[in-house]
């Protein structure tokens, strides 16, 4: 992880690094990531945004990962959402899904409500929490070149793995262009998984 006074990465640029490495993973999206991921997604038919229950993307992703150990699952979580469901880190660590990559988009703010700070802004260390919870691997990056360089080894390394991406808060974005409704994505991906 870099330690200089670099500019905080743009969130879409951070997700673009992931998008370039994506193959056939099921991608579970949370609050701000469901707004920034759709234009970058190479497999939108395998994306689902958990809009039904705040903070539960990580738990939903765990369920998919446990159901299908042969399928890779990426949870693109956010700091505000994960703070609502911190216990899920322990639940996931206990379940040890070897196919789950948990990415946390840490902008220190509730962007979907206008960018107000979270209770954890400036103090919470998700990497340390994940490590303490029992994740076999955890990483944090505030430099996208470092992240891009490390990504192949993260993807091939021990799971579950947590990756914290420090990104800029952009405040509220309008709309979620290109993202299917959860109620449409769920049966579609369920059918896809039944056939693959």
């Amino acid at each position: 992880m870099s330690d200089g006074q670099r500019e905080i990465p743009n969130p879409s640029a951070a997700l673009e690094v992931l998008s370039r490495a994506r193959t056939d993973e099921i991608v579970v999206l949370s609050e701000s990531t469901r707004q920034d991921w759709p234009p970058l997604s190479t497999r939108p038919e395998l994306d689902i945004a958990i809009t039904g229950s705040m903070g539960k993307a990580s738990s939903f992703g765990l369920g998919v990962a446990l159901a299908r150990p042969d399928v890779k699952v990426w949870v693109l979580d956010t700091d505000g959402a994960l703070l609502m469901n911190l216990g899920s880190l322990v639940t996931i660590a206990r379940a040890q899904p070897a196919n789950l990559l948990h990415v946390v988009y840490d902008n220190g703010a509730y962007d979907t409500t206008g960018g107000q700070p979270t209770p954890g802004t400036g103090i919470v260390d998700f990497r340390a929490i994940a490590q303490g919870a029992g994740y076999p691997s955890s990483f944090a990056y505030d430099d996208l070149e470092d992240f891009q360089e490390a990504l192949p080894s993260i993807l091939s390394g021990p799971k579950p793995a947590l990756v914290v991406l420090k990104v800029a808060s952009l405040g509220r974005r309008d709309g979620v262009a290109g993202m299917r409704r959860m109620g449409d994505a769920f049966p579609s991906i369920r059918d896809y998984l039944a056939q693959h």
């Binding site: 579970v28 689902i48 958990i50 809009t51 039904g52 229950s53 705040m54 539960k56 993307a57 738990s59 939903f60 992703g61 765990l62 369920g63 998919v64 990962a65 446990l66 159901a67 299908r68 399928v71 469901n85 216990g87 899920s88 322990v90 639940t91 206990r94 379940a95 959860m182 109620g183 769920f186 991906i189 369920r190 998984l193 039944a194």
Partner: protein
Amino acid sequence: MAVSSGALQAATVLAELQRCGITHVVWLPDSETGYMYEAIRDSAFLTLVPVCREGESIAIAAGLFMGGKRPVVLIQSTGFFESGDSVRGLALDLKLPLLLMIGYRGYRGEGQPLVDSAARFLEPILDAWGIPHYVVESDRTCSRISEAHQQAVSTTHPVAILMGQEYTG
């Protein structure tokens, strides 16, 4: 299935879950159902998924459904209250055929007074959300589990079993 007249036994509950083809029990233990832990853990057909807080359980079950499995959620009424957003936004909105097995804290038998607010509010809240519910408090009534599961599957809607008796066996 063997039917006894005694208290609800873990083996009887598991036989019902096996009949339903249940694959996973997503669970946080409570006083009403804690006695089933070892039976679930040691079961050859069930995978136990313990959670830290009950709201997780509904989301994990939703993910399991999307992956083609048949989970049940086994939590106490107090945890069901905590899970409200997940029940609404996932179990109901996604029309999950989810069997919710809920420890009925404060229930002391049919016709007996409900001893705390957890008991008084449970059935009215389930009614408000349109979730059908049935009490199971002995081996005699245990077949309601598979009947409720069949109802959940046929209606693609959550159905609740209220586990109504402390283990006495």
